[in-house]
C-alpha cells in the first residue's frame, strides 16, 4: 500500500509541520517515507505545500504527481491540486476558508471546517491537526496514537500544555469523516 499525499495551504497554516508529523509517525510504524517541501521565496501568507509518501515499498520519486490524497487548506491550492488526485482518491477541503465545492465526481471529497473547529477548541493554530485527523480516518496512513506520540515528543516541557488540544483536534477531524 502506498499513500501519496499533497498538503497545501498558506504559509503559516502548518502545512509543512503536518506533513513532517505524518512522515515521522509512519516511520515509527515501520513504513518507508519521504517528505518533500516546496521551497523558494516562501513567506507567511504565501502558498506552501509538501509531498508526503508513506509506503510498504521503497519510495521511488519523492514528487507526488498522482496523489492518493490531497489536504487543501486554502482556495488557491484547491484550484492548483484538485486535478492531481487519482480517481478514487481522497480530497479533504478546509471548508472554513474555502467556499468553493470540488469540481470532480470521481473522487471522495470531504469538507472539514478545520478553522472553525480549531477556534471552538480555543486554539486557531491547530486547524492543521483537524485536517490531519480527518485524513488519518479517511486513509489509515498512520495511527492516531502514533501521531500523538510524535506530538508528545515535539511539545515537551513548558509547551506540553498544548498536547491535549492537539489530541482533541485529531479526534474532531476524524469525526468529520463519515
Amino acid at each position: 500500500m502506498t499513500h501519496e499525499i499533497i498538503m497545501a495551504g498558506f504559509g503559516g497554516q502548518g502545512v509543512m509541520a503536518m506533513g513532517k508529523i505524518l512522515a515521522e509517525a509512519a516511520l515509527k510504524e515501520g513504513k518507508n517515507v519521504s517528505w518533500l517541501p516546496s521551497y523558494g521565496p516562501e513567506m507567511r501568507g504565501g502558498t506552501a505545500n509538501c509531498n508526503v509518501i508513506v509506503s510498504d515499498e521503497p519510495v521511488g520519486a519523492p514528487v507526488v504527481s498522482e496523489a492518493t490524497a490531497a489536504l487543501i487548506l486554502n482556495r488557491p491550492s484547491l484550484d492548483k491540486f484538485e486535478g492531481d488526485v487519482i480517481p478514487g482518491g481522497v480530497l479533504i477541503i478546509n471548508s472554513s476558508l474555502i467556499d468553493q465545492k470540488a469540481s470532480r465526481d470521481d473522487i471522495k471529497v470531504y469538507y472539514v471546517p478545520a478553522n472553525d473547529i480549531a477556534n471552538e477548541l480555543g486554539n486557531g493554530r491547530i486547524a492543521n491537526m483537524v485536517m490531519l485527523g480527518a485524513y488519518l480516518e479517511a486513509s489509515g496512513a498512520a495511527k492516531q496514537d502514533t501521531i500523538m506520540e510524535i506530538i508528545t515528543e515535539i511539545f515537551s516541557g513548558k509547551k506540553a500544555s498544548v498536547i491535549p488540544v492537539n489530541k482533541e483536534a485529531l479526534v474532531r477531524g476524524a469525526a468529520c469523516i463519515k
Partner: protein
Amino acid sequence: MAKELWKGNEAIAEAAIKAGCRYFFGYPITPQNEIPEYMSLRLPQEGGVFLQAESEVAAINMVYGGAGSGARVMTSSSSPGISLKAEGISYIAGAELPCVIVNIVRGGPGLGGIQPAQSDYYQATKGGGHGDYRLIVIAPSSVQEAVDLTQEAFDMADQYRIPVMIMGDGMIGQMMEPVEFKPVAKRVLPEKTWATTGTGGKRKPNVINSLFIDPQECENHNIKLFKKYDEITANETRVENYNVEGAEIVFVAYGTTARIVKNAINTLAKEGIKAGMIRPITLWPFPTAAVEAAADQASVKAFLTVEMSMGQMIDDVKIAANGKKPVHFYGRTGGMIPTPAAIVEHAKKVLGGAK
C-alpha cells in the same frame, strides 16, 4: 541506531562532521542554505570553525588554505556559486589538495532559478575551471546515500589528494528521508607529510603550489595527475545496475532523476515492457564499462538517457555505447521535473522506432 528523518542538506552536513570535517567556509545560496546553517550551529560544538566568507571566491580560497594545512575542509554552494569557485577548484586540483565541495544544483544558466536541475554535469565532470584536471563527482540519489557517500568522500579526497564534489539538486537537499548514520569502511590513508603545519625547525618547509613555469615540469605534473586519475577510474567507479539483465531498453539516469526513472520502469514492467537502468553513482569516473556491457547485451535495443538538463551526460553514454546501440534522450530543465508518465511515454516511442 533507529532510522531518523533527516533533511538532505542537514544530513550531508552532519555526515561531514561525522567524517571529521571541522572547517567549513561558505556563502549563502538557495537551495543549499541548510548546510551552512547547520554547520554554523554544529561546528562550534565540535571545536571546529564555521566561517561565512564575503564571497564564494573567498570561501573556496579559505578551503585551499585549510586543506593545505592538512585539515578536513568543506564548502557548499549551488550552481552560480560553484561557477565563482571554479578558479579556486582548479588551483586546489593543481596543488593536489583534498577537500569536499557540495553542489546542490539549481536551474541555469546565469542566475537561472532555484528549483532542482542537473545542468551542471559538464561543469562538474569536464572542467568548470581551467586546465587538465578532474574531480571525483558523486551523485547520491537518496538522503541515506548522500550520508554514506559524504563520509566516504573525505577518505577518497585524502587517499588521492583530490577535490571531491558531492552533486545533488534541490530535491535531494530539501527532502526528508529516513537515515541511519553508519560508520564507513576504514581505508588505509597516507600520512599528510605534504601539509604546511610548521617545520618546527626539523624539516624543510613544505610548499603548496600550482605554478610550474618550466613547460616540461608542467607537463610532467599533468602526466602525474593523470596517472592518479587512471588509478581512481580503476578503483572508485561506482554504478548501480537495476534490472538491466534481459532489458529491451536501458535508461541511464543519476541522482533524483534515477528515482523517477525507477517509477517509470515499474510502470513499464506492468505493461510487459522490460526496462532497466544504469545509474552512475560516480559521474566522474563515469561507469563506461557498465554502458559498454549493456550495449553488447543482445536484448538491449536502445538506451534512453534521462536528465534534468538539455542533455549533457548523454555525451558520455554515447561515447561508451560507441555506436553499438542508439542513444536517445529525454529531459526537462530549468527546474522542471520529469514525470514518470512522460518517461514511460518517451520509452514507448523509442521502442516503437527501434522495432
